[in-house]
């Protein structure tokens, strides 16, 4: 693990007064000052607001107030979460400079918990990508090796934590956009059960797949953040009607007697160095008292196709609102349709345009049944496969990413090559299950490898128990 302070320790120190929120913020802002130009994790660093907020927290703590479980914790937010009065761009020219008039629910929750926002992080435009190379404002660089990508789409949030710019950060995950960058940057990344965390204020990419989750250095931090941001939100109709689960308390329970699934028919594509770390993870868990069981997920090889028809279809509809009428940047024209078409052509990058067109096609008359309709059925097959597997296993382990972090430009020639980065992460989004990536050693070029823990719906407890054991064995 890194030498950076964890959120858990910061919160404890600040709440008890042994460290000031102001000094914590300065420490992080200084690291930002030193390396941000090189890493480019942020679209916007909110240093003034962060200092003001830290001062306010210190004053309240001095008065004896309990400011919350994240007292003074510097946190970075992916720039697709609405922050009132602070630009929220989704790393797209079409929203460059746009300031939302409202906060995302998770932002309000973090604020109520005493966190300090240090900035909005870079992402692949509208969360579409696996390397952050699709950002309209330039890519983010992997802090561990700046010739390599940090992963995506939440590359900025992963890098911010990896570089110590923030103690923890939030990303969003639709097909792996938290877990894959976490693996590539050597940090912990969690995608909670679909519906556990409110999507209100998260700029939608694919509504039935998107979830918000944390990046952190430690499993304990990830558990703490998940507790803070989870829980029913009446502003989100898909929000699970339960309170946030208790996760920090389960971390020490170990994995004695747990059944860890190994996918016997895992799709090909993972590098040998990655598979080696996965094997080591199984060994570690066995040593800790768990049993390894073989599971089969025969429909898994179709997951990529299902995802790349469902996600772009939903995205084509979610992104239709960017038309230059009410907000964002407009390209003037003499008539409405040309205004729309010129605005969107100028405002959206290549990958976004491709996915909008693919999605529009998949939904269009005459093609719905063959593409979107079929993909929804494949989704059901995958969900059924998981249900059968979880009859015999408590969690499943797979690689997170098929490779370690790759160099810039290595996968940009053919979009499909980039899509293949997500083969192990996509299935959980389709099923709506939770999954997380835990760093577990290194692979090629000494770059970190992440191991993915998958659990059934609302199986966060089991997932975190396994993660805690892997963390101590890594």
């Amino acid at each position: 693990m890194s030498n950076f302070s964890t959120a858990t320790s910061i919160a404890s120190n600040v709440a008890t007064g042994s460290q000031s929120a102001a000094s914590v913020v300065e420490e992080h802002l200084q690291r930002i000052g030193q390396r941000e130009e090189e890493v480019h994790a942020f679209n916007l660093v909110t240093s003034a607001e962060a200092r003001e907020r830290a001062a306010d927290l210190d004053a309240r703590i001095a008065r004896g107030e309990n400011v919350g479980p994240l007292a003074g914790v510097p946190i970075a937010l992916k720039d697709n979460m609405c922050t009132r009065g602070i630009p929220t761009t989704c790393s797209s020219k079409i929203l460059e400079g746009w300031k939302p008039p409202y906060n995302a629910t998770v932002v309000d929750k973090l604020f109520a918990a005493g966190a300090v926002f240090v900035g909005k992080t870079n992402l692949d435009e509208f969360a579409m990508g696996s390397s952050t190379e699709n950002s309209a404002f330039g890519p983010t660089r992997n802090p561990l090796d700046t010739s390599r990508v940090p992963g995506g789409s939440s590359g900025g949030s992963a890098a911010a934590v990896a570089a110590g710019f923030a103690a923890v950060s939030l990303g969003s995950d639709t097909g792996g956009s938290i877990r894959q960058p976490a693996a590539l940057c050597g940090v912990v990344g969690v995608k909670p059960t679909y519906g556990l965390v409110s999507r209100y204020g998260l700029v939608a990419f694919a509504s039935s797949l998107d979830q918000i989750g944390p990046f952190s250095h430690s499993v304990a931090d990830a558990a703490l953040l998940t507790e803070v941001i989870a829980g029913h939100d009446p502003m989100d109709s898909t929000s699970i009607p339960k309170p946030a689960p208790s996760l920090v308390s389960v971390l020490g329970r170990g994995v004695e007697g747990m059944r860890i699934g190994r996918v016997a028919d895992l799709p090909e594509g993972a590098d040998a160095d990655v598979l080696a770390r996965l094997d080591a993870a199984f060994v570690a868990l066995e040593k800790a008292g768990a049993t390894i069981v073989d599971v089969k997920l025969p429909s898994l090889s179709y997951a990529l196709t299902a995802y790349y028809l469902i996600a772009p279809a939903e995205a084509s509809s979610n992104l239709a609102r960017y038309d230059g009428v009410r907000y964002g940047n407009r390209v003037a024209a003499n008539d409405m349709n040309n205004m729309y078409a010129d605005t969107r052509a100028a405002g959206f990058g290549d990958e976004v345009k491709r996915r909008i067109m693919l999605g529009t096609y998949a939904l269009s008359a005459g093609y719905y049944d063959a593409y979107y309709g079929k993909a929804l059925k494949v989704r059901r097959l995958i969900s059924n496969d998981f249900a059968a597997a979880y009859a015999n296993a408590d969690v499943i382990l797979t690689p997170t990413s098929p490779t370690v972090a790759f160099p810039f430009g290595a996968k940009t020639d053919d979009p499909l090559t980039m899509y293949l980065c997500d083969i192990f992460t996509i299935p959980t989004n389709l099923a709506g299950h939770p999954a997380m990536s835990v760093p577990f050693g290194a692979g090629q070029a000494n770059m970190p490898v992440g191991v993915q823990i998958l659990a059934p719906t609302l199986g966060e407890e089991a997932m975190f128990k396994v993660a805690a054991v892997l963390e101590s064995a890594a």
Binding site: M235, S316, S317, R321, D323, V325, Y327, S364
Partner: protein, 479 residues
């Protein structure tokens, strides 16, 4: 054959689509006020404006009202889903409308027209309204040739129910009756104020024609009808237009046509480059709506007596024809309960109906005149103590005073019904005074009676009961 006003052999086939704004406090998917007439863009929120990150949450009261409508139209309430209807237009803030597509809330109902014709209702589903565009520059506020448009999103997100009938309507008059009856139902159940002039009820007609016995013709959708009267005119125009086309060897193109009130015709909208492909798919931000049996029953049990039932009840009570104008008017005014009260006070409901229809136009559903007073008046009439003409005068005084004892008022005016033998005497005098009229009447000329009756009434100074006079004349004639 029904009289549809068309050339012989032609049948008119009409289906009606009615959009109704629900009388909720807030919008369908967000908490902004559902209010007409406020300053533009003051009833807005992230959902209404389609801001990035906004999410819809369904209004429970809108569902309640939608169910009331469905149940009042004899529909079955079913588990239902919401879909996105995707298209681009500036007053559609998300570039999709959330509506119900293949699984609507209410299905398979019907509406009975006064007179007994049954119009099937295919579905009544929920959807959100759009904002409002106003066009500037160019000629007269129409979109073609305008310079720019201004958009107000106050109306965006207002809850609508779309009621789709089966193509069972066969005349323009039936179409008008359907809309009027529907409106009465909507108001009665409290779902909407349903005012076409204000836009809280909007009506489109799908019109086609065919020869009797032939397959259904191609239909055209007629939009921009702003009153019930226009609806009838537009349907009649469109039917004749289609017949003209067909009779001269042409074919009807399936299209949407715009009714123009000023020139009294329907016009084709500009041909579209790409017909809209709405790319419907299930709305992922909403979940299934499946009201349980208890909720449905609660709504059903709480429905008021509907206009059709009220008309039937009033007809049974008064002996009038169910589809008579008197019954329709009195029920629409909400004065049928009053007539019941008159009956319960011992009055004659048939006479009460006549007086209420004639004289209570401004009284609303709680007439000031105490029911027992009107009851007493009708009793005097029924017992032959007052003629109709006399009763009318007495009623006039009672209405002005807001009540009164009709017997006393009649006495004070010197009204009294005459004894039959006295009337017989006046009849004798009348026949003697009008020998020619009497001869003609005896020969069968009914019109001659008028002169006789007129003379007799004058002789009796208006106190003879006209009905009794007529009866005596008929008797004397032997008919």
């Amino acid at each position: 054959m029904i009289d549809n006003g068309l050339p012989e052999g032609w049948e008119l086939v009409v289906g009606l689509e009615v959009h109704v704004e629900l009388a909720t406090k807030t919008k369908l998917f967000s908490g902004s006020p559902n209010r007409f007439g406020d300053e533009p863009n003051t009833n807005i929120d992230p959902v209404t404006l389609g801001l990035p990150g906004a999410l819809p949450v369904l209004n429970e009261h809108a569902v309640e009202l939608a169910m009331r409508i469905g149940l009042a139209l004899n529909c079955t309430v079913k588990p239902s889903t919401f879909h996105r209807k995707n298209y681009f237009y500036p007053d559609l803030s998300k570039a999709y409308q959330i509506t119900q597509y293949d699984e609507p809330l209410n299905v398979d109902g019907f509406l009975m027209l006064p007179g007994g014709v049954r119009i099937g209702v295919e579905r009544a589903h929920m959807e959100e309204d759009t904002g409002k565009s106003t066009h500037f520059g160019g000629a007269g506020g129409r979109i073609h040739g305008s310079d720019y448009s201004l958009i107000d999103f106050n109306r965006a997100g207002v809850p609508l129910v779309e009621i789709v009938s089966h193509p069972d309507v066969r005349t323009a008059e039936q179409a008008r009756q359907y809309v009027n009856e529907l409106r009465a139902i909507l108001v009665a159940v409290g779902a909407s104020d349903a005012k076409m002039e204000e836009g809280s009820m909007r009506c489109d007609a799908n019109v086609s024609v065919r020869k009797y016995g032939a397959a259904l013709g191609t239909r055209c959708e007629i939009k921009n009808v702003n009153s019930v009267r226009s609806l009838g005119k537009a349907i009649e125009y469109e039917a004749r237009r289609q017949i003209d086309v067909l009779e001269t060897g042409g074919t009807i193109r399936q299209e949407t046509r715009h009714w123009d009130e000023t020139d009294g015709r329907t016009h084709t909208l500009r041909a579209k480059v790409d017909a809209n492909d709405y790319r419907y798919f299930l709305e992922p931000d909403l979940v299934m709506l499946a009201p349980d049996a208890e909720w449905v029953e609660r709504v059903r049990a709480a429905l008021p007596v509907l206009p059709a039932a009220r008309r039937a009840n009033l007809a049974a009570l008064t002996g009038a024809e169910e589809d008579s104008e008197a019954i329709a008017v009195v029920v629409e005014r909400g004065q049928d309960t009053y007539i019941e009260e008159v009956k319960n006070s011992g009055g004659d409901p048939g006479r009460a109906l006549v007086w209420v229809q004639q004289s209570f136009a401004e009284e609303g559903n709680a007439p000031r005149l105490p029911a027992k007073d009107l009851a007493a008046l009708t009793v005097l009439e029924r017992d032959g103590k007052l003629t109709a003409t006399q009763a009318k005068t007495v009623l006039g005084d009672m209405l002005v005073a807001g009540g009164g004892d009709p017997a006393a008022i009649a006495a004070s005016k010197g009204f009294e019904a005459l004894d039959t033998s006295v009337i017989e005497g006046f009849v004798d005098e009348g026949i003697a005074a009008q020998p020619d009229a009497w001869a003609k009447y005896c020969a069968g000329e009914e019109k001659a009676m008028g002169a006789l009756v007129g003379t007799i009434m004058k002789l009796s100074k208006g106190k003879a009961d006209g009905k009794v006079v007529t009866a005596i004349l008929q008797q004397r004639r032997g008919s």
